[in-house]
């Protein structure tokens, strides 16, 4: 291979491999490889081809390290991530479903609109049952100094967005699950969508409320480090409970194991600012 052809080929390989490298590290990565390749071109031009084979392996290694770093640094407890995951699920279910003609027909037809309306009504009717099934919330977390007005508004916005995305995801999953029935009995299968929806809604909305109660009322992050307080035998004369805390030091949630007449709801103990320095920022 002539020198200019070799240079062009190297440049092409380097540019291709650089695409794999994350953008923030790309320039430095390229600079290091260009330096090594130019040194080698001057000293051992015959070895360059073999040497350049490592470009892709190195680019993949850099990309993999960046993915691992990102995974490790992901804040799994933050509310934004919860919404992002639900939105991703919604997009995935929509994208996979819309490729099916029966799915499209059942979503966009008059029957589909009617089914969806029933579905939403069913979801609203599910709410009281899920409140009974799930644990009782800490009333004091919703009062007093536990959170500012802005934080309270944010909490309702989060709950609303979560419920909306969940109902949509449940509707799409019910449609996907009953899709084979559309091929057999046509639009009558919408009845099965509603039956599926009844079950799915109880699970999904129950989870949404449970998740909401296990979040810090100030920062909406999931509480952590559950600790059992007291043995189960205390339930007759005293209260045994589980305590969880906010990792930003906003407070503690005390959740009784049994709902008793003297200890019905969970209790939120708001910690003042002096505690914050013990926790991560």
């Amino acid at each position: 291979m002539k020198p200019h052809q070799q240079l062009r080929s190297l440049h092409r390989t380097l540019s291709l491999a650089a695409i794999v490298v994350p953008r923030v590290r790309r320039d430095l990565w390229k600079a290091e490889w260009i330096a090594e390749l130019s040194y080698l071109l001057r000293t051992q031009p015959d070895a360059v081809e073999g040497f350049a084979q490592g470009l892709f392996a190195d680019a993949v290694a850099v990309r993999r390290a960046s993915i691992v770093d990102r995974w490790r640094n992901t804040d799994w407890r933050c509310p934004e991530l919860c919404l992002r995951i639900l939105f991703g699920l919604f997009v995935l279910l929509s994208a996979t479903g819309l490729t099916q003609p029966h799915f499209r027909h059942s979503v966009f037809s008059r029957w589909g609109a009617l089914t969806f309306t029933y579905f939403v009504i069913l979801a609203i009717l599910t709410v009281p049952s899920t409140v009974v099934v799930s644990r009782f919330g800490a009333r004091d977390a919703y009062e007093g100094e536990a959170a500012s007005m802005r934080q309270r508004a944010g909490r309702w916005y989060f709950l609303g967005a979560k419920l909306l995305l969940l109902v949509l995801c449940v509707y799409l999953s019910a449609l996907q699950l009953t899709l084979p029935l559309f091929y057999l009995i046509g639009l009558q299968a919408n009845a099965f969508v509603i039956i599926c929806g009844l079950v799915f809604n109880v699970v999904a909305i129950g989870w949404a409320f449970r998740d909401q109660r296990e979040r810090c009322p100030s920062c909406m992050r999931l509480l952590r480090s559950p600790a059992r307080m007291g043995p189960p035998s205390w339930s007759l004369l005293d209260s045994n409970a589980t305590e969880e805390m906010c990792d930003r030091g906003h407070g503690l949630l005390h959740q009784p194991e049994w709902q008793t007449s003297w200890y019905g709801n969970a209790r939120w103990l708001q910690l003042d600012r002096t505690w914050r320095e013990l926790f991560h920022p």
Partner: protein, 108 residues
């Protein structure tokens, strides 16, 4: 030490090479006989684990030699600890890496 990073044989070999004064990726390849697709990813991993530290050569020196500035690597204190542990595990590793001639080291 419990918090020392455990090294594979290849990683230990590369670390040993760097500790002997070979400081560029290509130098490491020449001494160890490993492929570039093995050496460079290993260097990145070890730099991520703070076992080695990458430093860019001064522009002035590179300009004098009429070539782009290269990145050279040196072993950190954590790297030396990890290497000591690895040498206990792989006692023959030193015999694979010849010590660098002082003249070459000074030139680099």
């Amino acid at each position: 030490m419990t918090d020392t990073v455990r090294l594979s044989h290849t990683a230990a070999l590369i670390l040993k090479t760097l500790s002997q004064g070979y400081s560029y990726g290509f130098d490491v390849m020449e001494v160890t006989g490993l492929a570039s697709g093995t050496v460079y990813p290993a260097l990145r991993r070890m730099e991520n684990d703070s076992l080695i530290e990458g430093v860019w050569e001064s522009e002035a020196k590179a300009l004098r030699d009429e070539r782009p500035a290269r990145r050279y690597y040196k072993v950190t204190r954590a790297g030396k600890q990890a290497l000591t542990e690895a040498e206990k595990k792989y006692p023959l590793i030193a015999s694979f890496v010849p010590a660098r001639e002082p003249a070459k080291a000074a030139k680099a």
